[in-house]
Amino acid sequence: MKRFAELIKKLDSTNKTNVKVDALASYFKEAEDPDKVWTIAILSHRRPPRPVNTTLLRSWASELSNIPLWLFEESYHIVGDLAETIALVVPSSEQHTEKSLTQFLQEILALKKKEEPEKKEYLQDNLRELNYYERFVFTKLITGGFRIGVSQKLMTRALSKATQIDEDILAYKLMGNWDPNTISFHDLVIAERAQDYLSKPYPFYLAYAVENEVSELGNVQDWSVEHKWDGIRAQLIIRDGHLFVWSRGEELVTDKYPEFHQFIDQIPNGTVIDGEILPFPNGRIGSFNDLQTRIGRKTVSKALLTKTPVVLRAYDLLEWNGKDIRQQSYDQRREILETLYKEYTTNYSNTDNLTFQLSEKMYFDSWASVEKERAKSREKHSEGLMLKRKDSPYQVGRKKGDWWKWKVDPLTIDAVLTYAMRGHGRRSNLFTDYTFALWDQEQKELVTFAKAYSGLTDAEFRQVDAWIKKNTVERFGPVRSVTPELVFEIAFEGIALSKRHKSGIATRFPRILRWRQDKKIEEANSLEDLKAMIPSKE
């Protein structure tokens, strides 16, 4: 535990990726094998089930700290993290524990089945004996994930550095269901299996946003245009009768999308497709919110599969007949992709609802007509356009020149700040989570319409935070109502009627565009103004 707590402390006290990787890599070289397995499990969201609910935990911690519960709760609101609050508030101990990480986790696993008094005794005894950082880590093990800026990817990179095993191979080995309590480090990480190499993806080619006038990109005839779909970028690999789905975060997500399993029989082996996973309820593209119900799940229920099925909209082909074709031109790769698609569709009379779809490629004879197409993005449920040079190879990572994204401008409205809440993590103790309101019909009352957490600079957040602290009207736990005085321009990507919102309107990805220090609240927009933005066909 001592070594693990030291590791977490090191990871937590740097913002530099390389330092994190080095700290993890040396941990993976030095720690005991069972502890390594548990560390991998914890950093890949495989923590043990929570043995105690947080209400009990809070009440036991306040008792141990000898402060009233309300004071503990207030501290929690301000600190913004339960484990950190407990670590700070519980009286300090100079002791270190000699128990290993694995021993702690086994105890925590066993704790779940115990009676409440036993749980309480176990927790209080341990909290009393651990030092500050161990207490923080111990409570984190009980309450949930470590948000310390270590992704599964970063952890995998460090493990690769420590073991000299290829990163992508490791990512594959670590996927799926394995039990940290029973598997050995050797079986999980070291043992060689031929099939590990089957899943290896290609690095994604990523586009930059168009910076200047599109006409500066040269002759429109050199460019192929597609809509930019608002889903999850993914790479589909079919090799040797196996399917692998990688997300752009280079995370293996095959199990999350069982719809694609059928491709094993429909698409020839030795094929790698680049495309977008899109939600497709009722035979049409759904909203990103629909997709979000799928992203978080490790296993997907039948009901969810029926309610929110997904499709793959393909736009590029990276491997064909087992050969890497990334150096061929975009046009050539598309041609093979389209042939593949045609063969796939021969068995179907209606191709509209198929799980494998083609992202339509368009050619234009002027930039003006490209711009006209871009204006149709909202009705086509896209975020804008992708511009790809017809003769471009498939490059590695984010490169300028051949691929550009040209998003539609967001919708905007001026709204009044009415409530504020402290942020979490990096922003705990700062009021950074805001609620915004618009005027009702008579311009008498302000009606809440959206929450936004991003868009201001750190300096602006500090300024608004200071203003909020001086202009609080009422406090409701972590939330404060403030004097309606500040106006912000709020941008959002989409808008639809909604029964779940008080305002009757839901906005997609609202964020703060800028602080309108030039505007008074009387000049803010109304709900009517917002409603007028809803596309008429809805």
Partner: protein, 341 residues
């Protein structure tokens, strides 16, 4: 009902009987100033009264003002009201203000800390009936460790950066924290360099405190020369072009707010040392108890929480709004970087 001895009005803390303000935030005729930080010591009053160690500090900040210096414990009368200043231990020249009139005694703390920092005159509790206290860190989550331990951490951080060929850049606000850091840095490790704002203020304080030698970073100072040494700078220097000269460097901030993991990460600082010039939770409770006061007024910080807890302990406690900025810790990265702890 009799007017309270001290009231909070739109200008500041006011003693009607004496017609004098303490730490006013608007221009007034006569002001008693607890210490030199910008939220307590504002420009434009006709007459300033403060501890004599604070006189050169506020003159340095405010220019040519009319100011009289007083010693700790020395009492002075204004319209039959008896005033005296007592050490607050916050920074050099910082005072609590004791006000006595017709047998009633009030004390206003300004900003204060209990621990002896080795540079300010240590805090002394003053018996009173009504105690007006700041509570910047009035939350049980704040618990300081003795400064000896903190400085041992700071010095080992410096030594470890040095062994990696890096320059250490340590942030602390210009008046108070910077000199406290200078005083306790281990000069056997290397040389101490300063940012201009820190150097200027330190020169003002040198006649009153024994401080180690510092070198101002000017254009003449080379990057090579800085390597392995330590630089003391105001937080506002973080992220400025000025700091590029220190590459490769490690940054650290010394402040009470470094208690929170988020505070350090938000500022993208490599290391945070928890070192404050205010009281921690227990310090505040001890200070309140030591005054023997029954009535407690909290002015800035987590006031509502602290007052509620005091009421549960049986005190007659309430909160008054002021414009002191203890809670507005984030201002420390703005131009005047001294509102922190």
């Amino acid at each position: 009902m009799k007017t309270p001895l001290l009231i909070f009005n739109e200008n500041g803390i006011y003693c009607e009987a004496a017609d004098v303000y303490i730490d006013p935030w608007r221009k007034v005729d006569k002001a008693i100033i607890t210490h030199g930080h910008a939220d307590h010591n504002r420009w434009g009053h006709k007459q300033y009264i403060t501890h004599h160690d604070n006189v050169p500090i506020i003159k340095h900040r405010l220019g040519n003002i009319s100011v009289s210096g007083i010693a700790y414990g020395e009492s002075f009368m204004i319209n039959n009201v008896k005033f005296s200043l007592h050490p607050a231990g916050h920074i050099i020249g910082s005072s609590q203000v004791r006000v006595e009139h017709q047998g009633e005694v009030w004390v206003f703390t300004g900003d204060y800390k209990i621990e002896d920092d080795g540079i300010s005159t240590p805090f002394e509790p003053v018996q009173c009936h009504t105690f007006i206290t700041e509570c910047t860190f009035g939350l049980p989550a704040f618990r300081w460790v003795p400064q000896k331990e903190v400085f041992s951490d700071i010095n080992s951080w410096w030594a470890s950066n040095q062994s990696e060929g890096k320059t250490s850049v340590l942030f602390g606000y210009t008046l108070g924290k910077a000199q406290r850091l200078l005083k306790h840095l281990d000069t056997s490790i290397g040389k101490i360099y300063t940012h201009g704002a820190v150097e200027n203020m330190t020169n003002v304080i040198r006649p009153m405190a024994d401080l180690p030698e510092t070198t101002l970073i000017t254009a003449a100072v080379s990057k090579e020369e800085l390597k392995g040494n330590i630089v003391v700078a105001p937080p506002s220097a973080h992220g400025s072009t000025w700091i590029r000269k220190m590459v490769p460097y490690e940054t650290a901030s010394a402040s009470g707010w470094m208690t929170f993991r988020g505070a350090r990460r938000r500022r993208a600082i490599d290391k945070g040392f928890v070192l404050s010039d205010h009281c921690d939770w227990q310090g505040l409770l001890d200070a309140v108890k030591a005054t023997g006061a029954q009535k407690i007024i909290s002015t800035h910080g987590y006031t509502d929480i602290f007052s509620r807890y005091l009421r549960e302990l049986g005190y007659d406690a309430r909160t008054e709004r002021t414009q002191y900025e203890g809670e507005l810790n984030e201002l420390e990265t703005k131009k005047e970087s001294e509102v922190d702890g």
